[in-house]
Amino acid sequence: MDPEQLDEFVMGYLKKKGFNGAAKQLQDALHHNNNNNNGTGSSSSFNSTDYHNDPELTKLIRSFSQSENDPTRYRNGYSNLRSWAYNSLDLYKHELLRVMYPVFIHCYMDLVGKGHTQEARAFFNSFRKDHEMIHLRDLQKLEGVLVPSHLEEMEFARSLRQSKVNIKICQYSYDLLLQYLHRTESTLMLGIINEHINFQVYSGQPNSSSDDIDAVTIVGSFQETADHVNQKEIQWGLLEDSLEDRLEKTGSLLTDSEKGQGESKDGDVDDSNKKRSTEIGKQGSSLKKLKKDKAGNATAKVARQETSTVSPAPRVKSELALPVMSTDVEESILEDLRNRVQLSSVAMPSVSFYTFVNTHNGLNCASISHDGSLVAGGFSDSSIKVWDMAKIGQAGSGALQGESDTNDQVAGPNSRRNYTLLLGHSGPVYSATFSPPGDFVLSSSADTTIRLWSTQLNANLVCYKGHNYPVWDVQFSPFGHYFASCSHDRTARIWSMDRVQPLRIMAGHLSDVDCVQWHPNCNYIATGSSDKTVRLWDVQTGECVRIFIGHRSMVLSLAMSPDGRYMASGDEDGTIMMWDLSTARCITPLMGHNSCVWSLSYSGEGSLLASGSADCTVKLWDVTSSTKLTKAEEKNGNSNRLRSLRTFPTKSTPVHALRFSRRNLLFAAGAISKPTS
């Protein structure tokens, strides 16, 4: 290539890329050169002749000019990079392989963007297997993208294009990669990597490949936003003056000295609350440590007292005006709390299972009231059916006196209809929820409405219209009156029973919001979404205060620990993740289910987590050991595994709903599915 041509090409390139200013300058420079045959051009600020003399640069430019539009370059470049990465040193391999996925999807999208549909498809199919294990769902989405316009239309593709992937990589791996790219002059790959990957290089040895959850899966711009958001402080403590507190104070569970200490501690924390210092969590934990030491010293300890003292959650004030509880309701709750069975890894709960029969594949959701006596089912034929298990038990067989502490009893085979039919929706009912005393039912439906029903009048009271698309989930707040809903329209909304307009709209999820759950102190709600994240929102301000990233598929269920410190979320693949709310970090994934986790529930004192899944099992997890482990893990840097305590298989009933009653009896519900022959 002679200089003239080279000039021309550089000119064309600059113009094509829209660097008009530079092109003009170049032209001027060239003119200048031509005019003053040979000489003073070098003194100008623009060294136009540089690239004529530098062979490296010439080669680079030539490679640009040769194959600007050659689709096979992507394939070759990628497959070379791939085989290099696979043959690299074992120690650094997994880090280098992380780079492959973003490169892969961007190669594919580049090819699509340039209109090489056929090549793009071929490229995609030949390398798809590499990434299927981790990124199957993303690949399925991207697979359909075939023409440039789809890239524009599809939100997922757009967000991929606009954002950078953060990859943590150790210094040596990074050097290796750069060396390789320079040595082989794979400028195309280099370009893609520069354009779409943001390396976070750290010195030292590469990380072990097991804890790569946040290193690989985050694809999207909001990692930074998430980091930023997660800096905000939250008060995860329990409400002050809760019933549990009152019980502790009145119930003479604590010895006098401890009681005194408990009170002083409460005062302490209240002060810090008023200051709204960020230290709250730390203070709580330091207090806890102090307390724990003390607990360790005191030898004569009953297990009951221990559990009540191990996790003294800080107390916070409610930011919502909470409804006033009637005294008899309060009394019954206190009574329940007093009779609560203490559960731990050695004291397992009893599980009562409500099986729906003859649903004809129509049961979409099930819900159990707080005392387990009412069961509601939402059906695809728009109906809601509510069973009063206590009544059925009385009518059927009063012979069972043994379980007098619970209302459930074996239902007698009654010929007449023994449920209440609630009709009003005009689309499949996707969710139902009972108010804490069990006097109201809320239901959400594909007809975009939420309806409030009275279980005493058996009638529809209010219809809440606000969402524009099917409402996937609705949940009463722990104190009633307020409720939260989430929808296909990518918003979650807070409502109160007395207003037909939502009080808050939480927008921010990048896809459907699939499930919603209240924090025990009512100041926050958590939402799980098809964008594979869980977010925590401040109810008062409507702001997103936490983003939890780590799931690999859509989030289907959420549960908050009773002390407000932890949250569990279950996804489509059967993974359950336990999160620390204050740090927004995943404590540990709970693997074990092999199908959708429909439902999660913490036991009353938070020591056990129950999960119900489409694989027809209820599993119990020991969450206290996991949290203890993390502390050990922080010291050791050890990866841990959570303990699955028990698995209760049902005959062939996917578990739709779970609820621990206040007395720690676990209720589960599901529709029996006939095995397809």
Partner: protein
Amino acid sequence: MSIVPKETIEVIAQSIGITNLSPEAALMLAPDVEYRVREIMQEAIKCMRHSKRTTLTASDVDGALNLRNLEPIYGFASGGPIRFRKAIGHRDLFYTDDREVDFKDVIEAPLPKAPLDTDIVCHWLAIEGVQPAIPENAPLEVIRAPAENQIYQQKDGPLIDIRLPVKHVLSKELQLYFQKIAELTMSKSNPSLFKEALVSLASDSGLHPLVPYFTNFIADEVSRGLNDFLLLSNLMHVVRSLLQNPHIHIEPYLHQLMPSVVTCLVSRKLGNRFADNHWELRDFTANLVALICKRFGNTYITLQSRLTKTLVNALLDPKKALTQHYGAIQGLAALGHNVVRLLVLPNLEPYLSLLEPELDAEKQKNQMKSYETWRVYGALLRAAGLCIHDRLKIFPYLPSPSPSFLNKGKGKIINTEPNKRKLSVDSSSTMQVDKPMGDDNPPQNSVQPSSSGQASDGAPESRNAKEKEGSKGRAITMKAILDQVWKNDLDSGRLLVKLHQLYGDRILPFIPSTEMSLFL
């Protein structure tokens, strides 16, 4: 490129009346069609998830179309998942079976039954962490597998679990149940209740934890209560019920169970009273043994061989009591005709010669002894007879004899049946056992000689005729079969002749008349 070929686009375009679609347009549309279809599927999967299902249905797709403000596709909704059929000759082409329905049929058909109404049933999935073994819960084997996994998980987890030595915890209910059953088995005072207990043992799903206790109980009681006939009988009934229960895995306990069962079959003395019908118990146990061999013979290959060895040893030991011989013969007979043919028939001649002197009623003074001898003789006759009957039945029927013959033969078999049973079952007196010896069963004998006389000349002829008939169609194969049949017939013939020698006319009731006509 796109998985939707452009031909499909063209076909669809034609079907909706667009005839002048250019190939380029089709080519452009194809990828977009694929994209839209995927988009709809993505939404449909969301609908499926929120309906808490794992199988996509037509209604989910309709829901997705609704989300996109499109009209749903009518006519495909169904209660459950759609059944797809594979198109023959294509690897990945499926279609739904859509039969044409005659309107008349629909109108004339009776109203279908109203579907059952939705209901809730409640059961305990777990009680304090332990799953009760009730019919509502998944059966045991499902439970066992994850339990092992769990132990495994705990092992490699960072938590060190000190695994306590395995402790079998029986719930109070199960303990009560066991006590009750044991009482019933021992008391023998309430037969109707015991019968119900047996039914419960044979059907209840939660009894597996009790199996070791039951086997232990049975072994203990059998060894202790050999003099107590009723107890032994009850115990054997319990064994049978346990074997019948589909929810119990009894294999691991078979080794404990078998000795007691075999004892009840070949013990010298079962019960201490004269009236005790230990013959019946032996027959019952023989069937039990056969049942066990049939069910577990595949998993324990040595089971049957060991069992037959024991039995043959018992049979061939002349020092053993006749009752023991009887049990051994019944046990072997119950195991099948092949066992009898291979193990009993070769020993038949020496054994019978041993038995012969005892059979003579005049010589034998001891009434009891004579009865026992006749018992054994009857059992042996039955075993040999059934064996030869079976052999004759299998082969020579291939070129089927004329229906009248067949009927006659069948009739014979049925006729002989009660007689056999009498031989083995009826215990009231020696009279009936004596009968076959005394006057040779007049009704049967009167028929048989006549039929044999008739057919002795006619049968080969008819067989020849059959052969000719067959040769028209498939001469060669038929011939091969016939050869085989002849050979087998020859074997059976020899056997038959031998048996006839040994038993005289008493074997005749077991032989179908056609064969009799041939061989005798």
